[in-house]
């Protein structure tokens, strides 16, 4: 069924025209994990049932995440030629009202509608004044969307919608007009750095692989994403899986690899199902497989699943897991670019990193390196959760101030409370106290401050939070997830947890802080992977910013909030 790219584009355009300028409205329902958790499935059922029962013509798509997760379930109604009208926090009942009023009548239900995107003057009843212009919503106003450019706008299950909005253009351009080296040069010149946490230069990493003459080489995409507080990798796969697939094919072309794996945690059904469907469609269209788009370049992709394991997201643990083993890290050297998956040279990239690649190739290195700050080029894709008014997923240029992200984009702390701290970069990251959030988002600046950008999770905690209790919760996660291979991590995490438990019971002794530091040093120097090497970070940064609070627990035996005295739950079973 392979067709030429021109034919594919024509078909995609005509379908897109029919959807946008046809005879019926287009309804998009936010149905990524955040939407689902808010009740999007029930909303979809109620809406489609009402449309069917009342014979109301409409095209309904279940799209991914627009980023405004706090407003989910979101229903987005667009009549041909008009703006998109959004309904927030929709229930099955209001979904039926939307069908029976707006979709049947053609005019937005002004009592229910939340906002619009596009030209408000295009509304049939001419009255956009009671609705919010969502492009000015604080959460969207700060954004520059590259990797998330299609998220929430197109149906992730439909390759034609991706192609109609410019998809696979970069791949076609690279295969027809650029050599692999020229493609690699664009990525290297853009200054793109890995978004999985280490922020290593993507171009340099790709050159390691391109330099190998081995006949079989792999591109591995890491969507293990076990960090509590981060769901942007899954968000991209659920919203726009083809941008990742196109990025992976381009990575393969640039490095001479011919096979790729997308690695996702078993149980994350939405991302798995959408990625598998997208791979199948790309194969059917001749965008994956032998002789892609008539070139002599072959590349194929497989979705591989892991069981529950945070360390499976570490690059060598990931390879062990794809090979079907316990996800335990390997000794390095040799590095993956020399001896990787199944002993073959491999490159491991995060979903977000690869999702930038199509736009970098299409628009050029200079365009991308013009966005961002100093050595941190491009955007940060952040997941905002915890004590914030507007929780969700946003893409902002690197170099913006974290304070603006928290107080403007995310609308500050609910309930009139004060912010106490933010936890960034996942459980191995660190905390910043409220007084220190006036800091720009930049890989180096954040690292200097003891809080890494990591994979983009930002969790806010209000004044009612006990720092010792939060640190204990983070270490409980790290202890549970230690794979057990290196004893400094396996035993160190348990020791740290024991000491923190003791401090929470008000039975800590002054020597405990020094004891934890010593354990942390041993973990750092004696562990094979980042889990043990960085595992002391949550304690170190909490001690750095909140040593008073630890002292209050140990010396005065009081907790300003009392949270740490409440019972704590953690899984019964650990790894054996």
């Amino acid at each position: 069924m392979a067709v030429s790219f021109e034919e594919l584009q024509q078909e995609a355009q005509s379908r897109w025209q029919a959807l946008n300028a046809g005879d019926r409205p287009w309804v998009r329902i936010g149905s990524a994990m955040c939407g689902q958790a808010a009740g999007a499935d029930e909303v979809f059922e109620a809406l489609t049932e009402s449309l069917g029962r009342n014979n109301i013509p409409a095209s309904v798509s279940r799209v991914g995440c627009l980023g405004l997760c706090f407003a989910e379930p979101l229903v987005d109604v667009q009549f041909p030629g008009g703006p998109r009208v959004f309904y927030a926090n929709v229930t099955p009942e209001t979904a039926r009202q939307i069908a029976e009023r707006h979709l049947a009548g053609g005019s937005p239900d002004l009592d229910l509608a939340w906002g619009y995107l596009g030209d408000g003057a295009g509304l049939s009843n001419g009255d956009a004044s009671s609705m919010l212009d969502l492009s000015r919503h604080p959460m969207r106003a700060m954004e520059t969307r590259i990797a998330l450019r299609n998220a929430g706008n197109i149906d992730p299950r439909d390759i034609h919608q991706y192609v109609a909005t410019g998809g696979y253009r970069a791949l076609h351009q690279a295969l027809t007009q650029m050599t692999p080296e020229e493609t690699l040069a664009q990525v290297a010149g853009s200054g793109l750095r890995g978004r999985g946490g280490a922020a290593f230069s993507t171009g340099t990493k790709w050159r390691f692989l391109a330099g190998s003459n081995a006949p079989v080489k792999y591109i591995l995409c890491n969507c293990e994403e076990g960090d509590p507080g981060a769901y942007n990798d899954k968000g991209i796969l659920e919203s726009d899986p083809h941008t990742l697939i196109e990025g992976m094919i381009l990575a393969g072309y640039a490095t001479g690899a011919t096979y790729g794996y997308v690695f996702i945690r078993h149980g994350h059904d939405g991302p798995i199902e959408k990625t598998r469907a997208a791979v199948r469609q790309a194969q059917e269209m001749g965008l994956l497989g032998r002789g892609i788009l008539g070139s002599d370049f072959d590349f194929d992709i497989e979705v591989a699943l892991t069981g529950d394991s945070y360390v499976a997201g570490e690059e060598s643990g990931l390879m062990e897991s794809i090979e079907g083993h316990r996800a335990m890290p390997r000794y390095r050297p040799p590095f993956p670019a020399q001896v990787g998956l199944f002993g073959k040279p491999s490159n491991i990239n995060n979903v977000k990193t690869l999702a930038y690649v199509p736009e970098i190739v299409a628009n050029g290195a200079e365009w991308f390196s013009g966005i961002g700050h100093e050595q941190s080029k491009g955007t940060a894709i952040l997941c905002l959760s915890g004590a914030l008014n507007y929780t969700g997923m946003i893409e902002v240029p690197l170099g913006v101030n974290l304070k603006d992200v928290l107080y403007q984009a995310a609308g500050g702390v609910p309930g009139g409370k004060d912010l106490k701290l933010v936890q960034t970069g996942g459980p191995l990251g660190g905390v910043l106290k409220a007084e220190s959030v006036d800091i720009i988002l930049d890989f180096e600046v954040l690292r200097e401050a003891g809080a890494i950008l990591g994979s983009g999770g930002i969790i806010a905690a209000d004044e009612d939070t006990c720092v010792v209790d939060l640190t204990r919760a983070l270490i409980a996660f790290c202890q549970y997830e230690s794979c057990g291979k290196c004893f400094p991590c396996r035993m160190g995490m348990s020791h740290l947890l024991e000491v923190l438990e003791r401090i929470c019971r008000m039975e800590g002794v002054p020597e405990d802080l020094e004891l934890m530091r010593r354990v942390g040093q041993d973990m750092q120097s004696g562990s094979l992977c980042g889990h043990g090497q960085l595992g002391f970070n949550p304690v170190a940064s909490a001690l750095r910013h909140f040593s008073d609070e630890f002292q209050a627990h140990i010396i005065d035996r009081t907790c300003p909030t009392g949270r740490c005295l409440e019972p704590r739950y953690s899984p019964r079973q650990t790894r054996r």
């Binding site: 794809i322 083993h325 959760s385 739950y569 899984p571």
Partner: protein, 163 residues
């Protein structure tokens, strides 16, 4: 028992993805049965040309695998950092209380398996639970309790009705 062996064999040998490993085979069994019976360990060892020790090593590493038949329903409660800060503890307490459990595990009537999950992936809707793989966010202790009671009250094949 033959029925069980057949289902295991179908799951293991019916995998369609090109890369088939011990882990992928175990996940296929979990999808089919909801647990890893001893017979599956033998079958996976045979299929992958490994020893049963190799298979146990993998199965015991990933805590998503369980080795006894699951309850009728599966409830997962997130204890990740975002959920922890937004009231997960109270939700966990409510779920365990309603289920009559002290810690994660199965209800005695075989109706609900309660499990803590490190991150269910919908952090913006914290605290989050999942019931039979369906996510529900902005969870309150009262709502969580109601959901457990509903599952326990359902008359099902798994034994006695309301305790």
């Amino acid at each position: 028992m033959d029925g069980l062996k057949q289902r295991i064999s179908k799951a293991v040998r019916g995998q369609t993805q090109p890369t088939q490993t011990i882990l992928s085979s175990l996940l296929a069994v979990e999808d089919e049965l909801g647990y890893i019976p001893k017979e599956a360990v033998d079958e996976v060892a045979d299929f992958t040309g490994s020893t049963i020790n190799d298979v146990w090593a993998v199965a015991s590493f990933y805590p998503n695998f369980r080795f006894e038949p699951p309850c009728l329903h599966r409830m997962e409660v997130c204890w990740g950092a975002s959920c922890h800060l937004t009231g997960a503890r109270e939700v966990i307490q409510a779920v365990l209380g309603a289920a009559g459990l002290q810690e994660e595990g199965d209800t005695s009537d075989g109706k609900v398996s309660v499990r803590l999950n490190t991150c269910l992936g919908a952090c913006a809707q914290a605290p989050v639970i999942s019931v039979d793989h369906h996510l529900a966010g902005r969870m309150t202790p009262a709502d969580a309790r109601t959901r457990v009671v509903q599952l326990l009250d359902e008359s099902g094949p798994a034994g006695e009705t309301n305790p």
